[in-house]
């Protein structure tokens, strides 16, 4: 059986699944709106956690947070479940599909056959939406893909039970009940923005939000001395990968957030949010410029290559701008 599901590509997997699922239930909101309501703009740098020998950088909140926040703020009841038994998890999935319910799944990308080989890392927080099953082949709506993809029973089982860091344990989620009234976007937007400001400005430990960017800037200056040319280059490449990795909409969600600001100005009818959008676009441009210069640095290409100190200065500038942005955004919303 195949559910009549409109697949629209999105920048990010989790936002994209949320958008497509909501559209299936007749709620049409855009991906930037999902990002904004879900307070999805973030920065974290955790030098003490290592993955594949490199520290963890991230431009988004924990996987699952955006979906959960959006559904909560739109008063939509969702259900999610994890499994220990692989076959049981597949049966539970089939049952939901028979009832015509699209089911979100958290999967690992390493064994995902339609991903290019170079993108397959042991990353276990990718989101897809299963929307049908015919002759043992599951139809899968993956927002980062332009079209629907097919996965065999064994392939889907394997990615749902990927192992390694944060194994998904066949996690699946679906919409149980939607409210009869049209959702109130305004209150969702306001609490989304408030939470986002709080997360960027107020977390008291130095690894998250603006403080995280300052910390990264301080550390970048020491990288070459401390870790050697090669490892420093790898670290820098890792930042760029996370910043521009498939699914950020450019510049680590900054452009998407700028698009959100534009929509907010229309929904709340506050023209000043157009200014915020412009500011955020400029911040996005600064991140892109940083990425461009960083790539020249680790590839050692061309003349006038930035030193690590210069790159750190760029980060400090970005952090200053973001601090200014979120401080004035908070003032305008209160």
């Amino acid at each position: 059986m195949k559910i009549d599901f409109e697949h629209c590509p999105g920048a990010h997997c989790e936002n994209g699944v949320t958008v497509n699922m909501l559209r299936f239930y007749g709620i049409r909101i855009s991906e930037p709106m999902v990002l904004g309501i879900g307070a999805g703009l973030f920065f974290s740098y955790m030098p003490f956690i290592h993955l594949h020998g490199l520290p963890v950088f991230s431009f988004r909140p924990l996987p699952g947070d955006i979906f959960a926040r959006v559904m909560k703020r739109l008063h939509i009841k969702v259900h999610s479940r994890r499994f220990l038994n692989k076959d049981k998890s597949m049966k539970a999935l089939d049952k939901l599909l028979e009832r015509g319910i699209p089911v979100g799944n958290v999967v690992g990308v390493f064994f995902l056959p339609y991903f290019p080989k170079e993108y397959r890392f042991h990353f276990n927080a990718h989101n897809i939406c299963v929307v049908g099953k015919e002759n043992g082949i599951y139809t899968v709506s993956d927002p980062v893909s332009l079209v629907l993809n097919g996965l065999k029973y064994d392939e889907l089982k394997r990615v749902r039970f990927a192992r390694g860091t944060y194994p998904p344990f066949g996690k699946m989620y679906w919409v149980e009940k939607i409210p009869t009234t049209t959702p109130d976007l305004k209150s969702g937007i306001i609490s989304g923005i408030k939470l986002n400001c709080k997360r960027m400005l107020d977390i008291p430990i130095p690894y998250f939000g603006i403080k995280g960017i300052y910390l990264l800037a301080r550390n970048v200056r020491k990288w070459e001395k401390r870790y050697g040319v090669k490892n420093a280059a790898l670290r820098l490449a890792q930042v760029i990968r996370m910043l521009e990795e498939i699914g950020t909409g450019g510049a680590g969600f900054r452009y998407m957030y700028a698009a959100f600001m534009q929509e907010v100005s229309d929904v709340l009818q506050k023209p000043e949010f157009r200014n915020f959008s412009t500011q955020m676009t400029q911040i996005g441009d600064l991140w892109r410029d940083f990425a461009y210069e960083a790539a020249r640095k680790f590839k050692n290409r061309g003349e006038n290559i930035c030193s690590y100190d210069k790159l750190a200065d760029k980060l400090v500038h970005i952090a200053d701008e973001e601090k200014r942005f979120f401080t004035s955004l908070r003032q305008s919303i209160e």
Binding site: H122, V144, L234, D285, A294
Partner: protein, 131 residues
Amino acid sequence: MKVEEVPQDVGYLKDSNLRDIYYALDDSGSYCQVASIGWQPRTEALSLVWEHISEEADEIRQDVLQGKKSPLAYHMKIRLFDAGIMASYSGISKKTVKKHLQPTEFERLDDMFLQKYADILSMEVEELKKV
């Protein structure tokens, strides 16, 4: 970033149906979605990571040929498995997996046991025995 500035540098996404979706400004100054096939700095970041992995794998390959490490170590490396990930997939303890990275211990394993590793790395047992 404007729509016409969205990079279209052909990279690893070339042969897949995956695309990067960018949010960019159109002529009227409103944001819209633009699909991109890649951006050079990012492709370079990814290729640097892969270069590094293949360098490390080559070193391990030399070690295997000199009898310092087992072929399992090489096959795990090119598939980005470390002992922890392998342990978590196979249910074998991390300590035992590490033991099997040594050639002497590896040679003692029978085909039944090797099949377990081979299945997880999606390869044949015979391939697993050589580099």
